[in-house]
Amino acid sequence: MPFVDIPEAKTLEKTGLAAPWNVVVHNDPVNLMSYVALVFRKVLGFSKDKAQTHMLEVHHKGRSVVWTGGREKAEFYVQQLHANLLLATLEPAPQDK
């Protein structure tokens, strides 16, 4: 039986946190401001003040990052915001170098 030299197997391990994602809400001229603030409170659990601040940011700046975190939960929030007919997207959060 011939001798086979089996190379030593090596496993490379890479650990680190998954890159975060932003949930962004975009302005649209039809949704009422009070309705948008209510949806923020219901879906994202915001306080009345925080919901108002983000709603005004959407209104004045055209968009607001309402949540940042793991992709799966970001997708869930976007789905919930779409269910309430808000224009929401998810995008990779900018990383600090």
Binding site: N31, L32, S34, L38, V78, Q79, A83, N84, L85, E91
Partner: protein, 157 residues
């Protein structure tokens, strides 16, 4: 038209003139628009990632469609329970129907705006309904539905 928040948390709408009741009956109909522009607005892309967009269309969009349909059915049932009295029509939105009403009113407003290409300027116009002008009726409809949404939002505050 008289709106009253009941102690049980329902919204009673009484003395609804025939014209406004016809607009209320149109809520689920306008919300069910099959216009492609409306479809795009109801189901926007969640990201730029094409793979995610495809998955979204396959798995999330059918769920959203079912949820929108279910909300419209609740609204239709409430409208069917309305009664016609001497002073006008009368109906109730029970507390557990607030969300379906908010959602369906929103669907209807967005659909009308998309179908008519209404932008921010059109929506901030002061209007008085002119029954001979479809644009005026549509703008009035959006504002009337918006007023009802405001009442429902206030009740949830």
């Amino acid at each position: 038209m008289k709106l009253t928040a009941t102690e049980e948390g329902a919204l009673d709408i009484e003395e609804i003139p025939a014209f406004l009741f016809a607009l209320l009956q149109a809520v689920p109909i306008r919300a069910a628009s099959s216009d492609p522009r409306v479809e795009n607005r109801f189901f926007p892309a969640p990201a730029q990632d094409e793979l995610l967009v495809e998955d979204w269309k396959s798995f999330v969009q059918p769920e959203l469609q079912a949820a929108f349909l279910s909300a419209r059915e609740v609204v239709q049932a409430d409208l069917r329970s309305a009664s016609e009295l001497k002073e006008g029509f009368s109906m109730e939105i029970p507390p557990n129907h607030m969300d379906p009403w908010l959602g369906t009113l929103n669907q209807a407003r967005l659909a009308i705006a998309e179908e008519n290409h209404f932008g921010e300027q059109d929506l901030s116009e002061e209007i008085s309904p002119d029954t001979s002008d479809p644009r005026s009726i549509s703008l009035f409809q959006i504002n009337f539905y918006g007023f009802l949404q405001e009442c429902l939002v206030k009740m949830q505050d």
